[in-house]
């Protein structure tokens, strides 16, 4: 199963390598949104630094929705997903493979967005470790839930505006806990024993399990 998951992940990464949608469209979009926050909030430095954790996760969540929608668009074209199923690939392998490819793209997006936030809004950074681990947990949660709802809402007739409506409320706990982790990571004394890191990790594990359990039934019609 690991080999098949790896093959699916490799396929998705190759598609990204050739199309560069994440690199050329989604990441620049995230940066454009960061700049827009600056204009819209009237470049009040103190305010921007204070709300940086929340801004970061809003930008990442919204940008990730494009990556998730993209991850399903490539499967819908030429009924590629049916092809994978007909090859006898376990839905779990498809889920893990797509999640891995999605997570890699999201982590790159997060690294760029975080750098953008730190440079543009200048929040203090106390603990990089706390930031990195909480981001990883949140990424797995967003990716898992995104994949399930991507499969649920995948249809010729559904607009892509449905996916955000489905995903955003479900992920509210992740946005809350991940943004709290970043807030805590701003103080110099913060570390990986932060209580919010525990919370975001537990949520990450729960959503990963929900995603793994729900993806199969959501995908097979």
């Amino acid at each position: 199963m690991i080999r098949r998951a790896w093959a699916v992940a490799r396929k998705d990464m190759l598609i990204e390598y050739h199309s560069r949608v994440a690199l050329n469209q989604v990441i620049p979009f995230a940066l454009a949104v960061l700049l827009t926050f600056g204009f819209a909030l009237d470049t009040r430095d103190q305010l921007l630094a204070e709300i940086a954790p929340g801004l970061f996760w809003v930008v990442v969540l919204f940008s990730s929705l494009y990556l998730i929608a993209r991850s399903f668009r490539v499967e819908r074209e030429n009924a590629a997903m049916e092809g994978l199923v007909l090859y006898g690939i376990d839905p779990m392998a498809i889920f893990l493979g797509k999640l891995a490819a999605l997570a890699v793209q999201m982590l790159v997006l997060e690294a760029v967005a975080a750098a953008g936030i730190v440079i543009l809004f200048n929040p203090p950074v106390g603990s990089l470790g706390l930031l990195a681990i909480s981001a990883l947990a949140a990424t797995l949660a967003i990716g898992s839930i995104g994949l399930v709802y991507g499969a649920l809402s995948s249809s010729e007739h559904s607009g892509e505006s449905l996916l955000p409506l489905l995903v955003i409320p479900v992920l509210a706990p992740i946005v809350i806990s991940a943004a709290k982790c970043w807030s805590d990571a701003e103080s110099a004394g913060a570390g990986i024993y932060d209580p919010w890191l525990k919370i975001v990790s537990i949520f990450g594990a729960v959503f990963l399990a929900v995603g793994a359990a729900g993806f199969g039934p959501a995908m097979e019609d």
Partner: protein, 267 residues
Amino acid sequence: MTSTLVRKAVGVTSLVLVAATVVMGLFVTPPDVVQGNLARLLYVHPPVAWVAYLAYGVTSIASGLYLWRPTRSLKWDRIAVASAEVGVVFTGLTLVTGSIWGRPAWGVWWTWDARLTSTAILFVLYLGYLALRRIPLSAETRAKRSAVAALIAFIDVPIVHESVVWWRTLHQGATVATLGANTKVHGIMAWTLLLGFVAFTMVYIWMAMLRYRVETMAAEIESTQLEAWEAERMAEAGAPDAAIGRLLESGARAPKEVPADQGATPK
């Protein structure tokens, strides 16, 4: 038609009970010592919120029963959607009545209290569930997908609630007294509150029954429509030679035989 009779009886009962709640709540019960007439919302707001939770509970159970193979039946799907729609209406009412109470009691329409926030998320969550159901799909596919979505929502609700509670309590104390905490509910007021719970639960049952009926009728119309189309096609196919003759005359090539399995929609 016993089901029609039952529905009518439930409808009449719920209307009478709601009317009784209105009379009791507005005219019979005394104003509250602390909150005055404002406390009269107590007879509406908690029952409405209870119905919202009840409705989502029913949706979750029905969705689970649909997903479980031994009990799989589109009946459960219809119950799920009927209940969820009523649930969304009552969640909306919960938020509205809460706001109406909050404005004079707390001075604001909205506050980021844990309970309010999780109710708002619940509202959007099930709006998404209903939007998902609007995708045109076969009845079975839609039932399966929406059942998965309903169960994810069911798992998500306690997580949302816990996270919002931690979110609000980890950086500030609970600022908002829960509804009724500073009110002693007893005597006629308690009876009226109980009446409110019964009345709105009956309204829920009535609305869900009506909605279930509409869903069943829609499914029936869809299947008779399909039969009508099928009959039309059969009538056309009754004169194949003439049809092919017309096609050849118009210069088109005779249609190739389509293998049956290619014509079918992929599963």
